[in-house]
Amino acid sequence: MTIVGRRSPGDKIFDTCNAILMVLFCITILYPVWHVAVVSFSTAEKANELGLKILPNPASMASYRAIFKTSTLGIAYGNTILRTIIGTGLTVFFKMCMAYGLSKKKMPLRNGITTMLLVTMFFSGGLIPTYFLVRNLRIYDTFWALVIPGMLDAYTIFIARNFVMSLPDSLEESAIIDGANEVRVFFQIILPLCIPIVAVLSLWGVVANWNAWFDALVYTRKRDLLTLQLLLRQMLIESQSSVFLENEVGGGRDYAINRETYNAATIMVTIGPIILAYPFAQRFFIKGIMVGSLKG
């Protein structure tokens, strides 16, 4: 963007080095994902070999077949999708409600509510009191424990509020003069105008819910509530993989797969939707951080 005039030889050297550096950086990001993908399609024998994993040779779907046979993966996928849909829906809706309310400059208690939210950005009760709250509210080990405790946060509400405040007042004004109340105004005028920020909040919500694992780890125990991330964590870190393999895949042990290919396949199914949606969705994230940084 700063190109004015001709490039000197020094410039050319710099540009080349810079481009090489950038390519190397991209490789450090793309290769690890590719590596795991290759391992997931490899046979056990090949997966254990030392070396760069460029292509699976021979390619094998055995690991995928094995994980798709288990009922646990189905449960985990179902719960992850469910929490992503419901969690994102609730998050976005109630954040927008708060944003709309806080955009009313003349409303009594507006400053009080703003301060109440602001305080939570700098101070929190911490892990243990929140854990007991979830237990005492009787949502421990229920689906709601995955959705509700992290539903709202002050920072994104303020970002959304700034967006609402940047809308012209005239439309709302005329609706109110025509006798509509604020609830109608919110649904019929404000929300349709807020589609850009709703899209950003939704994408944040989807990513956060899809990637969430700590709430599932702390607030749930039941196998029925297992999410993909928690399942993956159990397999990777708590090394229940072998147990899992025997219990779930059952029957004769399949020597074409081992823990590594099995884990790699689970990683791939977990990040699959994100990787597939990423090229289309990423510009919204950028938009989101711009909205947040320029006005917040």
């Binding site: 700063t2 911490g126 007991f132 509700i148």
Partner: protein
């Protein structure tokens, strides 16, 4: 708030007129203000209705746990509840301060955070500057898009990926080390290596994403400045250092203050998914310590006390950084 007047709502005043009146100098009448705002409340009943769930959420899920912090001053028993458990004053805090294990964790937290800040803070700025110098638009866009990717993967996934990559028997690092004729290193089980891995992968994950804010600031710089500098004979690196970097200063300041405030957050998600008993010595941070002592060992009051201690220190750090920046710079965040 909820009562409706016969189901028909009277036309309500909107905010617009007030905005106009705000331009005039408003004389505040403190005594009348409270009564006036009280009388305004019914008009906003529908707005309050919309906000009802949100406000309840913050009171219940954010403020009740703050009250739950009282546990730190009690000998908490689950059966007795928070109020019913006996007070024991600062016993747990004395336990914290008398516990050498805690100092180790505190030191780890500071060391990891400072490493992250010193090595990691300039990286997105550097990355933004370098990216900005790329000439071929599509290449630039592609690099940018790829650079954000790790931000959108959870640390459970990344933990799995890095365990594979750094594996001594199969990993790429072992392969590369072998090429150079060195013996494999078990990076994630070696206390000193593991810490380096944590810092490096942490930076790697966020460089691209954190550079967005700087790129936004760069794109808002007036192009004429560059043209003028060029006419005056400034080289590209001179332009970068004399024009681009100073233009980023306000953004850098704000992010630095926020970074200082978060210095006690040494990256729970990442460390929790990368550490293991072999590397507790260098990777155990306050958050992981609270988790293990609180939820695994069920030492509830003690770990609440540790969490409270962390929160208070973090708050003080942020306020004092802001104070210093304000003195030096003229303006902080507040």
């Amino acid at each position: 708030m909820k009562e409706s007047w016969g189901g028909v709502s009277a036309p309500l005043p909107v905010d617009r007129p007030e905005r106009i009146s705000m331009r005039k100098k408003r004389k505040s009448v403190p005594a009348g203000r409270f009564a006036k705002s009280l009388s305004l409340m019914p008009r906003y009943r529908f707005v309050y209705l919309l906000m009802l769930v949100g406000i309840a959420y913050f009171l219940v899920f954010r403020y009740v746990p703050m009250y739950g912090v009282l546990m730190a001053f009690k000998d908490f028993k689950y059966k007795l509840g928070i109020l019913g458990s006996p007070w024991i004053g600062f016993t747990h805090f004395k336990r914290i301060l008398g516990n050498p294990g805690f100092y180790e964790v505190l030191l780890n937290t500071f060391e990891i955070s400072f490493l992250r800040l010193i090595c990691g803070f300039p990286m997105p700025i550097l990355f933004a500057l370098l990216l900005n110098e790329l000439r071929w638009g599509r290449f630039k866009k592609t690099v940018q898009t790829i650079s954000y990717l790790p931000h959108f993967l959870s640390w459970v996934v990344l933990g799995g990926i890095f365990t594979e990559l750094f594996s001594p028997s199969r990993g790429v690092t072992s392969y590369l080390l072998k090429l150079f004729g060195t013996t494999p290193i078990y990076f994630l089980a070696d206390p000193s290596w593991a810490r380096i891995i944590v810092v490096v992968t942490g930076i790697w994950q966020e460089v691209g994403y954190n550079s967005i804010i700087y790129l936004a600031a760069i794109s808002s710089i007036d192009q004429e400045q560059y043209e003028a500098a060029h006419v005056d004979g400034a080289r590209r690196w001179q332009q970068a250092i004399r024009i681009t970097l100073p233009s980023l200063a306000p953004t850098i300041t704000i992010l630095l203050i926020l970074g200082m405030g978060g210095i006690l957050n040494a990256g729970f998600d990442q460390i929790f998914n990368l550490y293991n008993p072999a590397t507790y010595k260098t990777l155990d941070i306050i958050d992981t310590y609270v988790y293990r002592h609180g939820l695994i060992d069920m030492d509830y009051s003690y770990s609440t006390a540790v969490g409270l201690f962390k929160n208070l220190v973090g708050l003080c750090l942020m306020l004092s950084t802001n104070f210093v920046v304000k003195k030096v710079n003229g303006s902080g965040i507040w």
